[in-house]
Amino acid sequence: MFGHTLVAAGLILGLPGLEFVFAASVKAETLDRIAVSVGQEVITESQVILDLRVAAFLDRKPMDLSGAAKRQSAERLVDQLLILREAVDSHLTLPSTEATIGLVAPYAAESDYQAELKRYGISERDLGEHLLAGLRTLSFTDRRFRPDVQVSPEDIRSYYDKLPRPASTAAPLPSFEDSREQIEKLLVEQGTLDALDKWLEMARKAANVRYREKAFE
């Protein structure tokens, strides 16, 4: 964080040389360390930070490298690793790189886009890999869990009946028939996510997931 401030100050004050001064002043530092191990595989601190950078870039938000944010990112990466490992073991055909084209909201000019990438300290490859991993996770979840989710007419009716009724009659609740398809979609979505959560809980237990607290300080 202190680095952030110095660099930002350097830029603001038109003193780009300060950046170099800062870099040169670093005599020793940790390049990378294990943040989480999942069985025999590791997620390093640099991967966690990269994930946060890419996420911030996509959200067009400032970066948050706090311990809590890192922990959240590590959790997400663990889930992603478990899912992708299972997908490979299941011999599922997963989306390829081409599927990520067009997923990033367009920039006014290519130079703006490149400048933003640079500003967040990520490369196009980092971005592509991040998006691809996300797509593959979604694809696996969809194909593995969605077919097993059964929603009965009673479930849909029950959901509809429990919807809060608007106080004013000006904007009445759509009829059951009009809402049926949407509710069914929602319940399937919810069931899929529940099944994924259950599966992840079991997979985490089986995979011997160990966090190294030092990486989240």
């Binding site: 390049l31 990378d32 025999q40 595989e41 640099s46 950078r53 500003r119 300290g121």
Partner: protein, 988 residues
């Protein structure tokens, strides 16, 4: 301007990363913290993508961490960069790789246990697996599990101290548990609820938890053990199940412990359940048989699937008895509350005999080959009077035959039975089964390719696979090839080897091109062997038995062989082997051997008896041919194994009976000097016996023997024996006594060659056994008399059909005196006859006899030949034998004769024959043997009517007994025509 700048600029998040600062700098040095790492430097260098003198890339930093962690040897890894002035721009970087070691379980050791539970049970309950990653938290679980095991065995106050010895250099964690079990709790009563339809005392007695001896109760309760609790519950359940209450249940709700008295009260719930009655109608079935065939008795529950199984079993039982049309159905109903009736209605139909089995259409396999795979059996006189036939067995046989064809390249084979002919041969009830085989074309391998392996491997693999060019094509052969190929790679350091096969039709008809693809994967080698658990055993003894060493490819079969060799030493109760860090992706791994030394001392005690023609007066001259007698026997022994930690065995076996007093000490060095085919034995012996009825012999003997196993079948024994034998109570003519009753010293050097090619030494069906035993007694070896002694034996076994065996055995013996004493000492002569040579004689009653007393005096030559026809008699466990024995012990080799008739009462050099019948009852320790023999020409001889004192008064030169004018003191006697022998094991 500043505002514009502020508006146009936002924070740059990407400029302060390590990547930005260090990426591309020259790596000047790579060092490890700590400097000593579990992996050798060259392996680390090979693993790491980071190299000195190359630019640093953050991708490689991540890769290095992943690679190191994947080896499994590190719990944590981090990489630091230090600025360094190396490189053109003076901006080099020195990398420090910091690691934290993992530890792996190299042994679990228990001390202070009090059985039960034994050490092994406690270790198993701890669930700490050898070679796996040691995790501190697993220790808590292990202690908890062991505490539970101890509680189940009555140790409610046990404490467990734990200690872990770590060795950083090999990353071992050796776990020690010190137990203080305290006192074992006792039962203090039983609380029962539910339907208890009997006095409580009766239930308590059934559990066996109260002290008692047979039917006599003794005050106090027994100790709590897991086994006693379970056995007690089981016994109580069986007790409640009496009277057809098959579904009675006894449940242990809790074992309530009382710390103040260190006692525990079992709380039981009893549900006696309904009365379940099983009966048959139509045909009677005995209660015992019904219990055997209807599984509700074994499973103790009633459900439809068990009743159907009982129905099938009953039908099959009747069909196996010749009622091939037997039909069984059943009904279940409750005639009154709390009573269930199961009624099997059996229609047995006519009884049949399976007289004939015909197989047609078979060309590739002959009739005998197909019959070997069939369950159907034609009727035979002794064993299966009605044969064995049922529709199910017939279908099974058809499937067996089809499988055989399919495994040999006939995928289209059809096996059917067009007809089962009744009234075969015109006789009602006789069945004939015809099985028709339609073989179809045989498919063969046109070409076979193996991909993914080096050329050398391919040459070898081609020599071990079945599906080579021209061989039959079958899935069974491919499966066997898969096992052979993967077995080869698994045993040569490729644990992840994979095999795939594919095939496509070849241009020629009924030909297939076969393709094997092998992916050997990464090869793994042995980093070293770690032997743990030794307390007194010398490490060198163990090291020489381990067949894997550093640099060898990891071979599961060699590890298993090492384990077997260690077990063969006989000094370890448990030999565990494992790879350290089994999941780790590293090129070299440690092989762990954890050894649990067996108890050093073992004791044995036995009682037995000899029963046969062994009796007669000890101090009288009665019954020179023996009379029916009984000799009780007690034996006690003690062994000390692993003497001096060398794997040697010291033992003392003693035996006392009315016929013998014997003490045999021995010192055995098995696998002598590390040679597994050698065994050295020193054995001093004291023996005071009178198994030869002519005299009592007191023998002091010492033997040194080196046994050498040449191959699986052939072995040699080289030995030196020195003995001093003193005879007493001689029952021979007085003039010979002075010559023969002197103590004799004999020193012998000799050896034996044994060739054993029998299929089963206990109950041989085929094969051959040859033995040659040669000994030379010479004054240079400390002997008072010089002679050679040769004993040859040849036994062969020939199967006749599937169940009958023809066995024969020939024994030849010869003693040649060279000098020293004027005659071969009595105790060194051949004494034979009896259960294992010629059953015309009681034991040791063959051969020359004293002309005055009629007692055996042994001979210098022997010849015996036995022939046995062994066959099944009743069921699978009782067999019969018809035998013929011939032979005798002779005065000398030149007097061996095949003459049938005894010339006179002092002629013993003729061939005695016996024929007879025997029964063999199969038991786990070998067959129990009872033989009854009749001899048409047993020896007749003169006995002496008088006492030993009378014998001394006989003038030395008076021909007291002769065929012409025998003195009244002489009586004509003979060995009985009929003999019986009972013993253990086959005759030969």
């Amino acid at each position: 301007m500043l505002v514009a700048l502020l508006a146009g600029l936002s924070p740059a998040f990407g400029q302060d990363t390590p990547a930005a600062r260090w990426e591309g700098r020259l790596i000047s040095r790579i060092e490890f913290d700590p400097p000593q790492q579990p992996l050798p430097p060259e392996e680390l260098s090979r693993l790491l993508p980071l190299k000195e003198g190359t630019p640093l890339h953050m991708e490689d930093v991540h890769g290095a961490i992943q690679k190191l962690y994947s080896t499994g040897r590190f719990a944590d890894v981090s990489i630091d960069a230090n600025q360094n002035d190396a490189g053109q721009d003076g901006q080099g970087v020195a990398l420090r790789i910091s690691t934290e070691l993992n530890y792996f379980i190299s042994g679990v050791n228990i001390a202070g246990e009090s059985e039960p539970p034994n050490r092994s049970q406690l270790i198993t309950s701890g669930k700490l697996e050898l070679g796996t990653l040691f995790v501190e938290s697993a220790l808590d679980q292990a202690v908890e599990n062991m505490q539970e095991k101890l509680r189940l065995n009555g140790f409610y106050n046990a404490t467990i101290q734990r200690r872990v010895d770590r060795r950083a250099e090999t990353e071992e964690a050796n776990v020690y548990f010190d137990l203080d079990t305290g006192y074992r709790a006792h039962f203090d009563g039983i609380e029962m609820t539910g339907q208890i339809n009997r006095p409580k005392e009766s239930a308590v007695k059934a559990t066996g938890w109260h002290r008692g001896f047979a039917f006599i109760p003794v005050p106090g309760w027994r100790e709590v053990t897991e086994n006693r609790v379970q056995t007690g519950l089981e016994r109580l359940r069986k007790d409640f199940q009496k009277g057809d209450r098959l579904e009675a249940k006894v449940t242990l709700d809790k074992l309530d412990y009382h710390p103040a008295t260190n006692t525990a009260t079992p709380y039981l719930t009893i549900d006696s359940g309904p009365i379940v009655e099983v009966r048959t109608t139509g045909t009677k079935v005995s209660g015992g048989r019904l219990r055997e065939l209807v599984p509700v008795y074994q499973e103790r529950t009633v459900d439809r699937s068990l009743l159907v199984e009982g129905q099938n079993n009953l039908a099959e039982y009747f069909r196996s008895k010749g009622y091939f049309d037997a039909q069984v159905d059943f009904m279940q109903y409750d005639p009154e509350p709390n009573r269930t009736l199961i009624e099997y209605n059996i229609t047995s139909g006519d009884r049949h005999k399976l007289k004939h089995i015909a197989i047609t259409g078979n060309r590739y396999f002959d009739f005998a080959t197909l019959r070997e795979r069939m369950n159907l059996q034609t009727a035979s006189l002794l064993r299966r009077r009605y044969g064995l036939y049922s529709e199910r067995l017939l279908q099974q046989d058809e499937e067996n035959i089809a499988d055989l064809y399919r495994a040999n390249g006939f995928p289209d084979v059809m096996v059917t039975h067009p007809r089962v002919q009744d009234a075969y041969g015109g006789e009602h009830g006789n069945l004939a089964v015809e099985i028709q085989v339609n073989e179809g074309p045989q498919w063969r391998v046109n070409q076979m390719t193996i991909e993914g392996v080096p050329a050398d491997d391919e040459t070898y693999l081609r020599s071990i696979v079945r599906s080579t060019e021209g061989q039959p094509y079958s899935p069974a052969n491919i499966a066997a090839d898969r096992d052979s190929i993967l077995g080869y790679y698994y045993n040569n350091g490729y644990p992840d080897a994979q095999f795939e096969s594919s095939q496509d039709p070849a241009p020629a008809p009924n030909r297939v091109s076969l393709h094997y693809r092998v992916t050997p994967g990464e090869r793994q080698f042995v980093r070293g062997t770690l032997v743990r658990g030794l307390e007194t055993t010398r490490p060198s003894l163990v090291a020489s038995r381990i067949l894997v060493g550093p640099g060898d490819p990891i071979s599961q079969s060699r590890i298993a062989q090492s384990q077997q060799k260690l077990y063969d030493l006989g000094i370890f109760s448990k030999v565990e082997t494992a790879l350290q860090n089994p999941e780790g992706k590293e090129e070299q791994k440690y092989v762990l051997f954890h050894l649990d030394e067996a108890r050093k001392y073992s004791f044995n005690f036995g009682v037995g008896a000899d029963f046969g023609r062994i009796g007669g007066g000890i101090n009288s001259l009665d019954y020179p041919a023996g009379t029916t007698g009984f000799s009780p026997r007690v034996s006690v022994g003690v062994s000390r194994i692993n003497f001096l930690g060398l794997g040697h065995i010291v033992s003392l076996q003693t035996q006392v009976s009315t016929l013998r007093r014997r003490a045999l000490a021995s010192y055995v060095a098995p696998q002598f000097e590390g040679h597994e085919n050698l065994a050295l034995t020193f054995s001093p012996l004291f023996d005071d016996s009178r198994d030869v009825r002519t005299f009592s012999a007191r023998r002091w003997e010492g033997t040194v023997q080196l046994a050498q196993k040449l191959s699986r079948a052939n072995s040699f024994q080289y030995r030196y024996t020195f003995r001093r034998v003193t005879l007493g109570s001689l029952k021979i003519a007085p003039q010979a006594v002075g010559l023969l009753n002197q103590p004799v010293r004999v020193g012998l050097i000799g050896g034996s060659f044994i060739q054993d090619r029998r299929d089963d030494p206990v109950n041989s069906r085929r094969g051959i056994l040859n033995t040659v035993d040669l000994a030379y007694a010479y004054k240079g070896f400390g002997s008072e008399t010089d002679f050679t002694r040769l004993l040859l034996r040849n036994s062969t076994y020939h199967p006749i059909g599937r169940e009958i065996v023809l066995a024969r055995s020939l024994q030849l013996g010869y003693i040649q005196r060279w000098g020293g004493l004027p005659a071969i000492p009595l105790a060194e002569r051949f004494y034979s006859g009896g259960a294992s040579t010629n059953r015309a004689f009681p034991d040791n009653q063959a051969g020359p006899r004293d002309t005055l007393t009629g007692f055996p005096i042994g001979g210098s030559a022997l010849f015996f030949h036995s022939t046995e026809l062994r066959f099944p008699l009743i069921g699978d466990n009782i067999g019969g034998v018809l035998f013929h024995d011939m032979g005798n012990v002779y005065t000398g080799v030149n007097t061996i004769s095949f003459r049938f008739h005894q010339q006179n009462l002092q002629d013993f050099d003729y061939m005695v024959h016996s024929i007879g019948f025997g029964i063999r009852v199969r038991t786990p320790v070998g067959p129990i043997r009872a033989d009854f023999s009749y001899s048409p020409n047993p020896p007749r001889f003169f006995g002496f009517n008088g006492t030993l004192d009378d014998l001394l008064k006989v003038p030395p030169d008076q021909p007291l007994c002769s065929s012409g004018t025998p003195s009244p003191m002489c009586s004509k006697q003979r060995i009985s025509w009929f003999q019986f022998h009972i013993s253990l094991g086959q005759t030969f």
